[in-house]
């Protein structure tokens, strides 16, 4: 970029505002002292404090000072910039100033919250930080956001109910959607459910209707057996690489194919309660209806076509797509208890709740419920398996952490299962072993009440006295025993002889380390994908243009997954609807007059195509210098340190500004102000 024209000399009039943050700051920091100290700094014409500057009244105060007192640079000491820097830029812009004539100083996270035990120190620090903010404000330059053309096309990853819902809602807003699903079929875990709370609808009926709308929508393109393998670019203009496996067999040949190999592969759809063949379909009516080859178990010769051996090969194909936004809806997986937890994997009579739901479905119209060839008479459900774990009391997961969260759906899902059980097999005795019953949602408590009416026998444990599941001594009528210290009977130790133990396992996120890395998003300490802020930006990740939908973000039921998915769709529509996106102008900028073309900056830069050598005209002569591509520059500033000629700088965070801030932070004459 050529040399900037010098700004017209204008008197710099700084307004400094110290927010009390409703006590969050003022309970510790002496705001009046900060106001006084800031008021004495050069160029400061107004210094005020307010209970809550981000409120309309607070913002009006600033606007009035700009319009009436000629304030032309604004410094606000408040919360972290991530919370309200944008809010105040808007305020400044509304009053007619360039929005970047605004500098946000964090005195809550950096002063009052961290030094609440030392009010004087916190106040002194706030004064220093504000002085540095004022020093920077004197050197602020007007900037314009970088405007990029946006692709009216979104990628949705995951074809569970959340991904389907998100895809549909984006498409309905006239934006093209590509939906990729890793498995060969749509629907995710919801397809494995039967009656779902709170409505009692059939899960696959609901899914079928939704899938029908998705696949018939002109704006949606669908790829099954497809995964994300590469990402470049930024919001509005990502290039993504998708890799799709072969399905194996086309529709016209399906009926003619004969499977020679025995159908002895565990069927994951039924959690291994049944087996399936290498060419399979999870359930009748699934989408796509075409069966898929299970490549992991495919062996040449296991299929025949018209009596001839059929030779198939998985030929994955990879292709590029240009999309403006990405919605991650990769869902959950049920917690898989380690061998031995509550007898799981040791006693055959211990199964998980998702498997039990399949067991009930498979039992169909049977007169009695059988498991392992014996009639089930007594059954115990155990809550919170793999959830609500406590450090020191529970075995950590392989990654060394315990699952310290509640999985939210398992309580109601358990009660729904007990109610269905009672309805179909009223003679079975049901024990429900729990710590707290969390039927929190609309209509959920009715499941609890109904279970009580159905004479489900509830037993309550404490988290430091977990129940135990043991094999019954040989010859007993029931093969398993559940030991519970029950606090509904005042701490009695009870022994429940049962035929089946159902573990209400919680949710874990689907493993998506690859996606996290590719999209540069974060997982929280619970391993689920993290939102920026649960209230301000609940479905957005820290990467602009990457959104979250459904249980990839945390445990949710169907309704909550769909609400989150629609909310993400609304954000996509806001982002891409206008046809362009705006990025912060905090990118590197080269002074071609100083650049000697040595390329030190390119060596250090970690971002693809952010900086390159190109011929430019400087004072009438052509010269090869570094040129920044604003769309790809992350504004990290590594290049600034690398340049031996100080030819490259960061807009909005220039070296000069930093120097001024450092000088202010270290200034001797501030001590007097701090003590004043």
């Amino acid at each position: 970029m050529p040399d900037k024209e010098p700004l017209p000399a204008e008197e710099i009039r700084i307004g400094v505002y110290t927010c009390q943050c409703g006590g969050n700051i003022s309970d510790v920091v002496g705001c009046a002292r900060v106001v006084k100290a800031a008021g004495e700094l050069g160029n400061v014409v107004v210094s005020r404090t307010n209970l809550s500057l981000c409120s309309d009244a607070g913002q009006a105060l600033i606007e009035a000072d700009i319009k009436e007192k000629g304030v032309n640079r604004v410094v606000i000491g408040a919360c972290a910039p991530s919370l309200h820097e944008q809010t105040f830029r808007g305020t400044v812009a509304r009053a007619g100033l360039n929005p970047y004539f605004y500098n946000h100083v964090g005195i809550r996270e950096q002063a009052s919250w961290v030094h609440h035990d030392n009010p004087d120190g916190a106040t002194a620090k706030a004064i220093r930080l504000m002085a540095a903010g004022v020093a920077k404000a004197r050197l602020l330059e007007p900037l314009e956001p970088i405007r990029l053309k946006a692709q009216k096309h979104a990628l949705v990853i995951g074809g569970g109910v959340a991904g389907l819902r998100a895809a549909l809602d984006i498409a309905r807003r006239g934006i093209k959607v590509t939906l990729i699903e890793k498995s060969p079929f749509l629907g995710g875990h919801m397809a494995q459910l039967e009656q779902v709370f709170p409505t009692g609808d059939g899960a696959r009926d609901l899914l079928k209707a939704l899938i029908q709308r998705v696949v018939s929508h002109a704006n949606i393109t669908l790829y099954t057996q497809a995964e994300l393998v590469g990402v470049q670019g930024v919001v509005g203009d990502f290039t993504v690489q998708i890799c799709q496996q072969s399905r194996g067999i086309s529709d016209d040949r399906v009926t003619a194919v004969n499977v020679v190999a025995p159908a002895n592969l565990p069927d994951e759809f039924n959690y291994g309660l049944t087996t399936r063949s290498v060419l399979y379909q999870p359930y009748p009516g699934c989408y796509p209806a075409t069966p898929a080859i299970d490549w992991a178990h495919y062996e040449d010769g296991c299929l025949e076509l018209n009596g001839e051996p059929l030779h198939l090969q998985n030929k994955p194909k990879t292709f590029d797509l240009a999309v403006g936004a990405v919605v991650v809806a990769t869902g959950f997986r049920p917690y898989e208890p380690p061998i031995g937890e509550y007898g799981y994997g040791v006693l055959p009579e211990v199964i998980t709740l998702p498997a039990f739901i399949r067991l009930l479905a498979l039992a169909g119209e049977d007169e009695r419920l059988e498991f392992n060839g014996r009639a089930v008479k007594n059954i115990a459900f155990v809550h919170c398996v793999g959830s609500r774990q406590l450090d020191g009391l529970n075995e950590p997961q392989p990654d060394g952490q315990v699952n310290d969260y509640c999985s939210r759906v398992c309580c109601t899902a358990t009660l729904q299962a007990t109610n269905e059980l009672h309805q179909r097999y009223p003679a079975i005795n049901v024990f429900d072993v729990y710590e707290d019953i969390r039927t929190y949602g609309r209509g959920h408590e009715l499941y609890y009440n109904l279970a009580s009416e159905n004479r489900v026998r509830f037993l309550r444990f404490h988290d430091d006295e977990l129940p135990e599941v043991l094999a019954a001594p040989a010859g007993e009528e029931h093969p398993a025993l559940v030991w519970v210290t029950d606090y509904l009977t005042w701490g009695q130790s009870l022994e429940l002889p049962v035929d089946l133990v159902v573990l209400a396992v919680g949710m874990m996120p689907n493993p998506v380390d690859d996606i996290i890395k590719l999209l540069k998003i974060n997982a929280g300490s619970d391993r689920f994908l993290a939102e920026v802020h649960p209230k301000l930006r609940p479905v957005e990740t820290a990467v602009p243009g990457v959104l979250l939908a459904g249980t990839a973000q945390g445990p949710m039921n169907i309704q909550e997954s769909c609400a989150a998915a629609s909310a993400a769709a609304a954000k996509v529509a806001v982002l891409l609807g206008q046809g362009y996106v705006e990025l912060e102008p905090f990118v590197a900028i080269v002074n071609p007059a100083l650049c000697d073309g040595s390329g030190e900056c390119i060596k250090e830069c970690c971002y693809e195509d952010a900086i390159s050598m190109q011929p430019v005209m400087v004072n009438g002569t052509e010269k090869v210098t570094a040129v920044v591509c604003a769309a790809n520059c992350a504004g990290c500033g590594v290049c600034v340190g690398a340049c031996p000629n100080r030819a490259i700088d960061l807009q909005g965070w220039t070296l000069k500004q930093y120097e001024a801030m450092v000088d202010a932070l270290a200034a001797e004459d501030l001590f007097a102000l701090e003590l004043a």
Binding site: C21, G22, G23, L51, S52, C54, S55, D56, A57, G58, C79, L83, H84, T87, R94, R165, D169, R172, R173, T199, L206, S387, R388, D404, Y405, C406, R408, D436, Y440, G441, R442, G443, H444, L446, N449, R460, G491, D526, F528, P534, K535, P538, V539, Q553, G554, P555, I558, Q559, C562, A563, A565, S566, A567, A568, A569, A570, K571, A573, V574, Q578
Partner: protein, 449 residues
């Protein structure tokens, strides 16, 4: 007042309504937001700090209020109610009644000189009757709009406010209600919730025990703008040393006809207990509960932190509360763990009251509520949670049942998506009121006949 033509009408200016309006307006749709109170903000604006992040509540709410007020695609109408609705082809014609503020909304600067001049103090509903407000006042310090409102039923018409008001003809004792129409293609109901009244349960003192308060009152005690500026008990201003929470007070209680769980009270009680132990480091805090329902993201960890902080959790059903001679509430509790019944005295007892439906849109909007809980019925609760049984009318936030702020905001976003898609699809088949596309038109004003 001019008639308005908009794409969507949002009813209710709590967090859910504001978020729906913003998400629609950001997509280029024109929105009218109608709020019955003098300021938007809903219940959330009176909270102190909010779980699970413990951010200061106004840091989340007030900027949203401000954004609503300044958004070029949003027309904000406070102190207004929809009094009739007519279906006009595929769109709606809402008749709006705007109550008189007795203050000119255009010219009032919110300087509050009138408020200071007014001689009469009244109990302030915003502070649950424990604080005061004048007959004429700006509703609260962060109100949007920052405009005074006069309570004519308590006014002595002394004229003192008018004398000090610096704006000519701003205070107008003769103002009357006005009506006008809003034409909208779609409607979002975000009318929120009410709280179980404290007198609902005779066993808990029937609202007569001064030191038995509801949790919203404690929010005000904890808020920096609260009535006392401290946590004090209402009977005599004593700083309480022992505070107890009674969970499920008004929820999960068939005797009150409320079978459902209110979903927020476990978390807000734990939150308040933590905030109270910050404000009153020496106080003992006990929570009497049946089940602790900390199901949301990060909520269980929040609960475990509270336990680690020394807050006492007692599994037990509170059967009765009475008070001793010094007005200390005495709680009679059946302890689940050992079956014993004990009486314990506290300085103050907080009822973790539940959520009740606030507004029944049956009559005007022809939108049914669910028979078992009274909240707006969802026609496709699992897959399309924002749909009601009335096409073109959607629901968001606690109007559709108890939920916290996070869930209300997410649902508000979902309602915006449903509404936007509905509007877009109607346009595609040429059913839109005027065939307008969202990006190109401005708010049309039709003069009122």
């Amino acid at each position: 007042m001019k008639n308005l033509q908009v794409d969507a009408l949002v009813v209710g200016g709590g967090i859910a309504g504001m978020q729906s309006a913003l998400d629609l307006a950001d997509q280029g749709f024109h929105v009218a937001l109608v709020e019955k109170e003098a300021s938007i903000g809903g219940k959330m604006i009176s909270l102190s700090k909010v779980f699970p992040t413990l951010d200061c509540c106004s840091c989340i709410t007030t900027p949203k209020m401000s954004a609503v007020a300044h958004h070029e695609n949003i027309t904000l109408l406070t102190y207004c109610e929809v009094v009739a609705l007519e279906q006009n082809g595929a769109s709606y014609r809402a008749q709006i009644n705007k109550k008189p503020r007795y203050v000119n909304e255009e010219s009032c600067t919110g300087c509050r000189l009138c408020e200071y001049a007014c001689p009469l103090d009244l109990p302030s509903a915003f502070d649950m009757g424990l604080g005061a407000q004048r007959v004429i006042r700006v509703p609260f310090s962060t109100a949007v709009p920052q405009k005074a409102v006069l309570d004519i039923d308590n006014c002595i018409l002394c004229g003192k406010c008018e004398n000090v008001c610096p704006v000519a003809d701003c205070i107008d004792f003769t103002q009357t209600a006005v009506t006008f129409e809003i034409h909208a293609d779609a409607i979002v109901l975000a009318t929120g919730f009410e709280l179980t009244p404290t007198d609902a349960k005779a066993e808990y003192g029937g609202g007569k025990l001064r030191n038995v308060v509801d949790a919203l009152t404690v929010e005000r005690f904890l808020a920096p703008t609260g009535p006392y500026g401290h946590v004090l008990r209402p009977s005599d201003g004593k700083e309480p040393e022992s505070i107890a929470y009674v969970q499920c007070a008004g929820s999960r209680d068939i005797s009150l006809g409320v079978a459902y769980c209110s979903r927020i009270c476990c978390m807000y009680a734990i939150k308040q207990a933590m905030l109270l132990s910050g404000a009153l480091p020496l106080a003992d805090i006990t929570i009497y509960y049946m089940d602790i329902r900390t199901f949301g993201k990060g909520y269980e960890q929040f609960y475990q932190n509270a336990r680690a902080m020394g807050i006492e959790f007692v599994r037990g059903k509170v059967a009765r509360i009475h008070e001793d001679a010094a007005q200390n509430p005495v709680v009679r509790v059946e302890q689940i763990d050992d079956g014993s019944v004990v009486e314990r005295e506290h300085d103050m007892v907080v009822l973790s009251v539940g959520m009740l439906p606030s507004y029944n849109p049956g009559l005007i909007y022809n939108v049914p509520v669910a028979a078992d809980d009274g909240f707006v019925a969802q026609s496709a609760a699992n897959i399309s949670p924002c749909l009601t049984y009335q096409p073109g009318i959607f629901v968001a936030g606690t109007a559709a049942g108890p939920m916290d702020i996070v869930d209300s905001i997410v649902m508000a976003g979902a309602a915006a998506a449903e509404t936007a898609a509905y509007l877009e699809e109607r346009r595609a088949v040429g059913m839109a009121g005027n065939g307008r596309s969202p990006q190109t038109t401005s708010v049309k004003e039709v003069s009122y006949a």
